[in-house]
Symmetry: C3
Subunit: 161 residues, 3 copies
């Protein structure tokens, strides 16, 4: 059995429900004293986008601008992986979550940052999707797969979500 209690989570998905699962695990581990690193890649990067429009210094390609417009900004407009009902599923899920006294995704993200969970934004995905650092929330590190692997080598639980 390992003595380390470090955990890493790759958040590849931009689905509301999968993001919830990732942040519940991350917060739970952090609350138990574990070091936790979350690596946001592909659709998972959408969670880190600022909700307001940001004028970027470097221009985006037409396709990147289009992807950027069509994908959700931040945690507020994510869909469900199942039973999405053309977008109605996520608000319904949020309602039952609130009724059950569960933390909101926004609160879970804030709590993770407060508890010192390390957020790494995947630079390769950023290059591909045209996301600039100034478009993403504060408190991030920017790195690639080598950095993820270095973290994972030190961890005893590594999940891909």
């Amino acid at each position: 059995m390992d003595t380390t209690t470090k955990k890493t989570i790759i958040l590849f998905s931009g689905d509301f429900d999968r993001a919830m699962a990732a942040f519940i695990i991350a917060n739970g581990a952090a609350a138990m004293g574990d070091d936790v690193t979350m690596f946001f890649t592909f659709w998972g990067l959408n969670l880190l986008r600022k909700t307001e429009k940001v004028q970027t210094k470097d221009k985006k390609s037409t396709l990147q601008a289009m992807f950027g417009k069509m994908m959700p900004k931040g945690t507020g407009h994510l869909g469900l992986s199942k039973m999405n009902f053309a977008g109605a599923g996520a608000p319904m899920m949020k309602k039952v979550m609130k009724d059950a006294g569960a933390m909101s995704l926004e609160d879970l993200v804030a709590s993770a940052q407060e508890q010192g969970v390390k957020f790494i934004a995947c630079t390769l995905s950023m290059d591909i999707l045209g996301f600039k650092e100034e478009e993403l929330i504060d408190g991030l590190e920017f790195a690639g797969v080598a950095s993820y692997l270095g973290e994972a080598d030190e961890a005893n639980v590594n999940l891909f979500i």
Copy 2:
């Protein structure tokens, strides 16, 4: 290399094909003498629902009742993550599985329980979706993310499916 051979699987998905993969791995590991814990959360809880209607002591909210009605009960009516063809995909997949002599999902679940695989139902997801203990199959433990993390800390393979 670890000396432990414990395995944990979070079954988040309620897709037939992903559930198949989870139970094939769980049964394989159990057959090799490993301790295996499966943690059922979100859509994965659908697999644990009794197929018959259960009168619950505590009332559900309207939304919870609606979610409950729209989601599959047990392993029999799960859809495929791909090529679902409005529900026709899963029966087709079951047919080719049967023709190939593969175990059915029902048999895999029963075999996992017989081999001592520990089934944990995520209590937070149950609270959110309104699932009560009496609506789920027998032989479950009920616990939250801290319990999952405790199990994962003792394991050398931890998958999120």
Copy 3:
């Protein structure tokens, strides 16, 4: 902390974006000197299919032939897990990837093989879907879940994608 640096990846998904993530991690780990094993199962097997039609010795069932016809052959025609736009999403994603100077999926697969990443095709999935060895690309090993678990027991990072 483990001293081993072996990694395993189960590629269950046949989505272009998830396959990209799997191969970027596999190539990154191999470049850092790790042993890497990729286990292709269910839809992930589609990536290993030769693009040309292969006359198989053993007959397939009607359903297997149908599945075979409807599923993509090789890496060229995979869809996106999100924003697929009836097939238009993947070409758009490939365009932004190319513009960003990112490796193509085809190059990543070739690079993984050149770097000695072990490719295991799941024989149970092959039996179910009716895929024959001669229909899949060269350089594969053919094995089942016990073989995967043996590899995972020697690894310190095990992902399910």
